[in-house]
């Protein structure tokens, strides 16, 4: 399916659940029988500070596990967006959370703008599932892993008490992508 590797960076601040989102995506890629690496970078804080997760999906051996030239960038904060935007490929997909990203220095051809955090608070009652909501949106837009693989991975990756909430967030994310622009 894939000739080259597909590089995704999920970025924002500590506590937004981006590393968990990266693990869920990586596990979904394994379920779809791809090779995958997932790396992360974060500060010493458990909340606040910067945080990012890189996922590289390929059908060949993946050498360098750090994404340097992304096919897709998810930015949940202004700081993350400003920092990583210029490493997005020209043809790459940019997904931003307009709850926090107010200025876009450069409009990519494929830019998707939605207030993910606001939507999560409104529709799911808390910003806690913003990570899964935006990840599901990303999966639907990029088609990088199958929707069913994402669901299986999600069920394996979160604590049992949070499965229902996250499945709800995932379905909402898929719907948002389906109806985007309408």
């Amino acid at each position: 399916m894939m000739d080259k590797s597909y590089e995704i960076r999920l970025s924002g601040s500590g506590g937004q659940g981006l590393i968990l989102a990266g693990i869920i995506l990586a596990r979904a890629a394994v379920i779809d029988k791809h090779k995958v690496t997932q790396t992360q970078s974060y500060g010493p804080e458990s909340r606040g500070g910067y945080s990012r997760a890189d996922v590289i999906i390929s059908d060949r051996e993946i050498y360098s596990p750090e994404a340097t030239n992304f096919n897709c960038l998810l930015a949940l904060t202004q700081e993350a967006c400003d920092k990583y935007l210029f490493d997005l490929r020209e043809t790459g997909i940019l997904i931003i959370d307009t709850t926090y990203v107010k200025n876009l220095a450069l409009a990519a051809d494929n830019t998707y703008e939605l207030p993910f955090t606001e939507i999560a608070m409104e529709k799911l009652g808390s910003p806690i599932s913003t990570n899964v909501l935006s990840l599901a949106f990303l999966v639907k837009v990029t088609g990088i892993v199958s929707e069913s693989a994402l669901e299986i991975s999600l069920r394996e990756s979160v604590k049992p008490a949070f499965v229902d909430l996250n499945i709800k967030a995932m379905k909402l994310g898929f719907d948002l992508a389906k109806n985007y622009g309408k």
Partner: protein, 415 residues
């Protein structure tokens, strides 16, 4: 100190109240855990691979003081060791941790600890003690950046020389260095095996990125995992020598409580382990520590040669930086540049002969590393015939990785 730790550990291991039936039940449960664990392709973290490698190698004692970026090793072993009849102890600090694993090993356990730079520095004295007393144990050091507490979550390769020379007194070291999650699993098993075989403290150096990285891996089935156990003495107890000079430097090892009489001290000792100040015996002991490594260098050295057959430029590096090098090589080869990679899986003892042989055919050597110049000195030592310009350094110490593009740029400059 060791004695106290030892008595604690044995107490925890075999509580007096536990009847035999329970033991048998536990044993069958352990067996079940080992054989039925699914070996399908999974997503696994480097530190997780170290923990499962330790379990598969038969490690049944862990004492440590959890520290970023190695914490997951302790977390997983805390959950898994008790299920398998093993012992997990969270110690008060790293000095106690290394002493506890040394003591447990003398009591017959296979022991391991995991730490990062600050803890590794504290452990150096204990590592020397394990070496001079020829006690098998494994120390995993997941490196972070900088001296002291530095940058806990950032990658660096600054402990390469410390792993060799950190403990005082000029003794050889065995240090292994993986570049992937799968290899972290394999080299953990190898580290435990080598520690048992050579009766010494073996160090597994890891990069923060390898420790925290998740990759799709399929671990080998348990039937294909080779486990080495220490040689036990077969002589009558009164003939036993704790350091038997007639056994090709790999002498059998009795455990405390098995009826063999021996003495353990950090002082220079004779064959039975009793302190000696005689220059003849001291010299013999130092010789023994050196020779058991240098006489077995072929068994110890492992090296990966990647696209070196026709290479005119060689990249020499270890761990995560080798992954960037492979990506750079793929890009350079696409443009027709003949470049390859030499990667030591065993960094100490340094693979002198293998490296010398392979470097003979190249014009230039590039040495990228996440420090201010450590591996490059070994390469310069082996490439005396090359001018300074033929050995090129790429060094970075800001918490960022060396990228494939950084290396590609140097490859092009060298053409």
């Amino acid at each position: 100190m060791l004695k106290t730790k030892k008595s604690e550990s044995t107490k925890a291991k075999t509580p007096k109240t536990e009847p035999k039936k329970e033991n048998a039940k536990q044993e069958s449960k352990i067996k079940e855990l080992q054989t039925t664990r699914e070996r399908k392709t999974v997503i696994m973290q480097g530190n997780e691979a170290v923990a499962y490698g330790a379990l598969d190698a038969g490690v049944n004692f862990f004492a440590g003081y959890p520290i970023t970026p190695s914490t997951e090793v302790a977390e997983i072993l805390a959950a898994e060791l008790p299920k398998r009849g093993g012992v997990f102890v969270q110690m008060e600090d790293e000095i106690a941790s290394i002493c506890a694993i040394t003591g447990a090993s003398l009591a017959g356990a296979k022991s391991l600890t995991a730490t990062s730079g600050p803890g590794f520095s504290l452990m150096q004295e204990g590592i020397g003690f394990a070496k001079i007393t020829e006690t098998p144990c494994v120390v995993v050091n997941v490196q972070r950046l900088g001296p002291s507490t530095g940058m806990p979550t950032s990658p660096a390769q600054g402990d390469i020389m410390q792993a060799k020379w950190g403990s005082h007194g000029d003794s050889p070291s065995i240090v292994l260095y993986p570049d992937s999650v799968k290899e972290a699993y394999e080299l953990t098993i190898r580290a435990v095996n080598l520690s048992e075989k050579y009766r010494t403290c073996v160090i597994l150096l890891m990069d923060e990125v390898i420790g925290h990285m998740r990759e799709s891996v399929r671990l080998p089935d348990m039937a294909n995992v080779r486990v080495i156990n220490r040689i036990k003495p077969t002589v009558p107890p009164h003939w036993y020598k704790h350091y038997d000079e007639n056994q090709k430097y790999l002498s059998p090892l009795a455990s405390y409580g098995e009826g063999y009489r021996f003495h353990v001290t950090g002082l220079t000792h004779d064959a039975h382990g009793f302190p000696t100040n005689k220059s003849s015996e001291g010299g013999e002991m130092m010789d023994r520590l050196r020779k058991k490594i240098s006489y077995n260098i072929r068994d110890l050295v492992q090296i990966e040669s990647h696209q070196m057959d026709d290479a005119k430029i060689a990249i020499f590096t270890a761990g995560i930086t080798a992954r960037a090098a492979k990506a750079a090589i793929a890009m350079a080869r696409y443009e027709g540049i003949k470049v390859g990679l030499l990667r030591p899986l065993t960094i100490w003892p340094f693979p002198d002969d293998a490296v010398r042989k392979m470097l003979r055919n190249v014009d230039t050597v590039i040495v990228p590393e996440l420090n201010q110049g450590q591996l490059i000195h070994e390469i310069r030592r082996l490439t005396k015939d090359k001018s300074d310009g033929d050995v090129i350094a790429i060094q970075r110490v800001n918490g960022q990785l060396i990228t494939p593009n950084d290396i590609l740029r140097k490859i092009k400059e060298a053409c």
